[in-house]
Symmetry: C2
Subunit: 436 residues, 2 copies
């Protein structure tokens, strides 16, 4: 038997691609060495969001008296790590079963084994050789190993700890670093960020980066650039101050996880080189998601995998630069879509920024989450929106309105004209859109 | 001195209209007999949302153990009504000051007094006569009085109670009724709904109405149609069962609040009759918001007032039927935009409904708010979206994406193609859009 498509890896690129391939009638086999759902579902996006929800719940409980809830003794509140992990993996398991159900429903086969690409039409796994017309590599990424902290814990290992460290040292860079630092702080630990480089989040507008620096300072989370630090055994020395830590956690920028590939495939740095259709240097072999190094975002991985299925099905889509949101589960959440102010300036576009604060928003005040804002960046000829940045408790959901707006090439006039429900946090789009 | 515009009433029609009028350079005077911000800000939208947030906070605290928060004794938890009211009016006062600031900034004058319209160019208030070129009546509405429960409490009076009733009888109809019933239930009271008519929420799709009936049943809130009930002193008898209550609260459908108007103005039932530009039967006098009976929604009132300013400024806007969201702060929240399934059928449009459950959404599961769904109703020729219905913890914010989509005449393909951040609740738009 010959498969139409073998997908190696079952994360957001692999599992989403497989479902779509099955729906389109492609005979599809997914091979993953360990998990259904990949890193994102099993110890990335979903579990970390579950941890953060638990930490945010502790914050809410602490603020409950302000809302008129009595009978809580703040001294008695504690964070039960085991229960948090248990709840987390109940959610993971539910979602895993959902993926398996959708695979089955769409005729997708699954094999848990290590895969080896023998040729563009042959994959070896579980001591068998599978014939296929196309291959999609969707094996993802992992944090780059750290020679400077060779004992550093991985995110994956964190979940199996019986007890969390009291003074974790978070080494690396990126949104995950901020999220995890705030998680530890919210549950009463004393995290330290040791940043490989600044800005922490290079894809973000510097305005958001600055916001989060201030927030980290307010939360008393030290942010130490690794170049200016002296690392001693269990101590960081920075600006003549000592920062003890009990455990380092590796949250470095990511590097590709590669299956064994016999044919000679072109690389770009540590990642698989791909063209605009996500095809590798060998025709018939595609790579989607983190493994091709274009992005480290789950939703971009899924979108790339869907584009691969379209390419295989010979659906010709317009070649456009796609707009996608960045979503950061900081406290408060941050989200961004489109280009940053620096990018607009670099392109020489005439632009304006309309900014509106949540402190004037009734719903945010009622929810007690008025720390934040929206910034709408637009060119001044047609007022077409080029970028939106939001800081708000539910910024990652709110950004979706900007997604559809920009997909349809909308303007600030469209935002101002669209009746938004009152009172809602989403009204800030209308308010900011009306500022001219 | 002659004003360009006198606005009577300072709710969402009056205050929003006044700010815009000021921005456009109109010499504007707002007259309100009692409040800055009207019913919506002072005892409607904003305060009720604040009460609901407090009740939802109690729910969250009760569920905190599941999230891994220990040290809460559910038996000791209580709801402090005084603190809740105090917090509520701090928010109200902050927003009032915001309105006054924006008025001042835009040169709008304010007078707290009872206004009387003497002619299309003369308004009497505070024993003075003000000359004006136009008048906007924005005096809002109040629940119709109830001869059957003449002692019934108004929503306004509720806030000044020292103690809340234990078994409140909520008499009337509409979204506010559902919200208030759930508020009382969440804080441990035993509310009863006595419905003037079913459906409770006639503008809603019957699918949502049915959802909320099931939810009320689950919450053990009796829903009694008034026609089938026997009302005795402090008792309702329904289907041979007795339901005692200690206080009736009037949440009837609303009737207009009118200023004294000397010239003979045309009415439509209890409301001021207006044309498509919200002009009354007397040229130069306009009526926006609840007082014209077209809608009882704050955001529609604001939109109408903005249209009045445009008309006065002779801005000619295209005459289109405007789409606006319905937002219900039930638990979970509900929201709807566009036309209902029954309306689509009545128009004979070929249509499909894509429905997607929150129980397959990772972020909703992580938040513990996976009770809900999205329904997208669209015609089958171009797949243009005609209506969206959402039940979700933050449905009132989520609906805004559908607002901009429908304003730009978007399709399910647009939703499916737009990359939504993962994991977010808003992904349900993409998931439902991809279901064909």
């Amino acid at each position: 038997m010959v498969y139409d498509l073998i997908i190696i890896g079952s994360g957001p690129a692999g599992y989403v691609g497989a479902i779509k391939a099955g729906q389109r009638g492609l005979k599809t086999l997914v091979i993953d060495k360990k998990y259904v759902g990949g890193m994102c579902l099993n110890w990335g996006c979903i579990p970390t969001k579950s941890l953060l929800e638990s930490a945010k719940m502790l914050q809410k409980v602490k603020s409950a008296a302000e809302f008129g809830i009595t009978g809580i003794n703040p001294q008695e509140l504690a964070f039960d790590w085991q229960q948090t992990v248990k709840r987390t993996f109940q959610i993971v398991s539910k979602l895993s079963r959902g993926i398996e159900f959708l695979w089955k429903k769409n005729g997708v086969e699954f094999l848990m084994a290590e895969a080896k690409i023998l040729s563009p039409t042959q994959v070896e796994a579980d001591k068998r050789i599978f014939e296929t017309k196309s291959i999609l590599i969707a094996t993802g990424s992992r944090p780059a190993p750290r020679p400077d902290f060779h004992n550093a814990l991985s995110l994956e290992e964190l979940y199996s700890l019986d007890r969390l460290p009291e003074k974790p040292l978070l080494v690396g860079r990126g949104a995950n670093l901020v999220e995890l630092a705030q998680f530890f702080r919210m549950i009463g630990k004393e995290p330290i960020i040791l940043a490989d480089e600044l800005p922490l989040m290079p894809s973000l507008d510097v305005y958001l980066e600055n916001f989060i620096h201030k927030k980290l300072k307010k939360d008393k989370i030290p942010l130490i650039p690794i170049r200016e630090a002296i690392i001693k055994d269990k101590h960081i020395i920075y600006k003549e101050k000592e920062y003890p830590f009990d455990r380092a956690i590796n949250i470095s920028f990511r590097t590709a996880v590669l299956p064994e590939i016999k044919p000679d495939i072109a690389m770009e740095g540590d990642f698989i080189k791909t063209d605009i259709n996500h095809q590798c240097s060998i025709p018939g072999i595609y790579a989607a998601g983190d493994v091709n190094g274009k992005s480290y975002l789950a939703h971009v991985a899924s979108a790339q995998a869907l584009e691969v299925i379209d390419t295989i099905m010979k659906v010709q889509l317009p070649v456009v630069e796609r707009t996608y949101p960045l979503n950061i589960y900081s406290e408060p959440e941050m989200a961004q879509i489109g280009i940053t102010e620096a990018q607009i300036k670099a392109k020489g576009i005439e632009y304006r920024v309309n900014q509106y604060s949540l402190s004037a928003n009734g719903k945010a005040l009622a929810e007690g989450t008025a720390d934040g804002f929206i910034r709408i960046l637009y060119e001044t000829k047609y007022n077409e929106v080029l970028g939106v940045q939001i800081v708000a408790a539910n910024a990652t959901d709110l950004i979706s309105e900007a997604g559809i707006l920009m997909e349809l090439e909308g303007t600030t006039f469209d935002l101002a004209r669209t009746i938004h429900a009152h009172p809602t946090v989403a009204e800030i789009y209308m308010d900011a859109g009306s500022l001219d």
